[in-house]
């Protein structure tokens, strides 16, 4: 029995525990490992070490080395092995240590993970989850900070989700594990140990494909995901003081996008600002722009604004905060939209 709950936090009467985002992810994996013995966790350092971020802390002791598997340093190899496991009835949760190290597994994902169902007319399916911490702002070395969600939203056959709260993290992860198809689960590193909130100890899911309005407003829509959600919220708070009210939406799922929440919001406000930390050109913001163009053309009162990373490799950490969108840049974009 799965409790579907899409409210922002736990409901009255639920058994809850306060957790930060990464604890909620661990709890989500524990919940699914306990419920379904087809579920496995594999990746580099996920076992004895409990993961370099401790996301799998304690899981090896609880479930044993046949369920929580330390693999060789071999992203293509263990992602490919997970394909074989999923073909053969298991439900692997693959951890890519940092999203920037998914590149070696790119061929496996682009040619097999995403195509096995279509090329066998659903004879073989791959219920698997690929988890990866991502994003800049934590002083990590090169490549560790890449934000490349758009390289997967353009890849038919995989869903892409990205929680920004502990509650959504557990709920989206359980939904991802239960999903009959592959799901890329992106974890904003910068929020791992951020805001703590009540998370139900029992199992629940947050639906894949649904965004979430986190602030109601009339003047401009602000879309964000992952670590950019708090940035957008902060900007919205400050704009409120200047009597500009923002409709702030955490998209949560990047493929398929929540077309309804996007169009509803823009048709209400007539203005849109999209915030993401990935490079601007070809980022998911362009797709959101296209969705607005397709659904809400006549409602637009101003050009859609993008507040994003730049068309440069994510810089070394001494200047990564100059690369990342911040509340000021978002506020400037909001003003441009409003004063157009």
């Amino acid at each position: 029995m799965v409790l579907v709950n899409d409210s922002k936090q736990a409901e009255a009467g639920q058994q809850v525990q306060t957790m930060n985002l990464i604890q909620a992810i661990t709890d989500g994996m524990r919940t699914m490992l306990a419920e379904d013995d087809r579920v496995l966790v594999l990746g580099e350092d996920v076992g004895v070490n409990g993961g370099v971020f401790r996301a799998t802390e304690g899981l090896l002791d609880e479930f044993g080395e046949h369920r929580v598997i330390d693999t060789p340093l071999s992203e293509a190899g263990f992602t490919g092995a997970a394909v074989g496991m999923a073909l053969n009835g298991l439900k692997p949760i693959v951890e890519i240590q940092f999203l920037g190290f998914v590149y070696p597994a790119y061929e496996q994902i682009a040619t097999h993970v995403t195509r096995m169902r279509s090329r066998t007319l659903s004879h073989f399916t791959l219920p698997m989850v690929i988890r990866a911490p991502f994003g800049a702002g934590v002083g990590a070395p090169e490549i560790h900070s890449d934000s490349i969600e758009a390289l997967f939203t353009h890849m038919p056959g995989i869903k892409v989700v990205c929680p920004s709260t502990a509650y959504d993290a557990k709920g989206l992860l359980t939904a991802a594990v239960e999903d009959p198809d592959p799901v890329l689960f992106l974890e904003p590193m910068r929020l791992y140990r951020g805001k703590r909130e009540d998370v139900p100890t029992e199992k629940y899911t947050v639906p894949i494909g649904k965004g979430k309005r986190i602030r109601e407003g009339e003047d401009v829509s602000v879309f964000a995901w992952g670590a950019m959600v708090p940035v957008a919220e902060k900007a919205a708070e400050e704009m409120a003081k200047e009597n500009i009210s923002c409709d702030v939406i955490d998209l949560r799922t990047l493929y398929p996008l929540d077309k309804d929440i996007i169009s509803d919001s823009v048709q209400k406000t007539g203005r849109a600002v999209i915030v993401h930390e990935a490079q601007e050109t070809g980022g998911v913001s362009s797709e959101v722009t296209s969705v607005i163009n397709d659904t809400s053309f006549l409602y637009l009162k101003a050009p859609i604004q993008r507040v994003t990373g730049f068309d440069v490799p994510v810089p070394f950490f001494a200047i990564e905060h100059d690369y990342l969108p911040n509340p000021n840049r978002v506020k400037d974009a909001i003003k441009e939209a409003v004063n157009f």
Binding site: G80, A81, G84, N88, G89, L90
Partner: protein, 353 residues
Amino acid sequence: MKEKYPLMQIVDGSGKLTSDSYENMITEEKVKDFYYHMFRLRTYDQKGKALQRQGRIGTYVPFEGQEAAQVGSALALEKDDWMFPTYRDHGAALAFGGDMVRLYLYWNGRVEGAVPSPERNIVPAAVPIATQLPHAAGAAMAETYKGTKNAAIAYFGDGATSEGDFHEGINIASVFKAPVVFFNQNNGYAISVPIEKQMNSETIAQKAVAYGIPGVRVDGMDIFAVHTAVTDAFDRARRGEGPTLIEAVVTRFGPHTTADDPTKYRDQEAVEKTRDEIDPILRLERLMKNLDMYDEAWIKETEQKIVDEVEAAVEEMEKFTPADPAVMFDHVFAEAPWPVQEQKEKLLGRSGS
């Protein structure tokens, strides 16, 4: 290294046993079974080439010359084992129980041709080279996890050994002692690139040393040698002793594909000349004659059955329900998300091309 990895042979080119100790393994039943499957593959393959020439299917990948390697290996599988073939191993798939009609459909650009028959775990051919090796490792690990005695086999060519996935797949299998057989058909070429330009090692079998697993080199034109080596490797796997790397040395008689012109990169006439001598089917016929197992009546009858089967399969392939554009939308996900749904409606509600 060739000394350390001698070419294992049971039946030599003249159809004689290389050692009397093998006598008891050669039963008439087995010989006929091997002959049946090899002739069946040969007939299917010849027909495939003809169909392509006549424009009745698209580009076709012939495997002529590699029948002993494909049949000898495929018949070593148990019914619940897993097969991970390449685009050249539809022969092996056929011998393992793949559906002939679908195996022709595939070459006609029909996705239905990639759908395995439900009775056999035959994963559709991996097109990106070597990507199937990690799959085989994972499927095998899953069998261990479930506590079965089933195993997996991954097919790949000499060129595939240069890809990272070859290495990562075998390494992972070796670490987890996965019950999997890595079966290499070394036909000496990756399209036009000869093995000397592909690797600096004298053999492929020796690459097993890198993974601390057994490496075996067999005459891939000798079906008994192949069948024995692969059967032994499956036994090891089922005993929980982990993967084996087998190099079957074969000759690809024809082009890489029907779109390839081998005369650009090798002396094709010289290859043709060797055929009488090395053709695996002729070698088996010589063995039959040497052992007084050559049953002409049976052969005639069997060959006729096969020819009829192939003709019928081609007919069915050509009568197969016409391609339906809808299938491209209906199997991306269990449920089509809105972009796929909208695109489908837009296309199918439309004049189209």
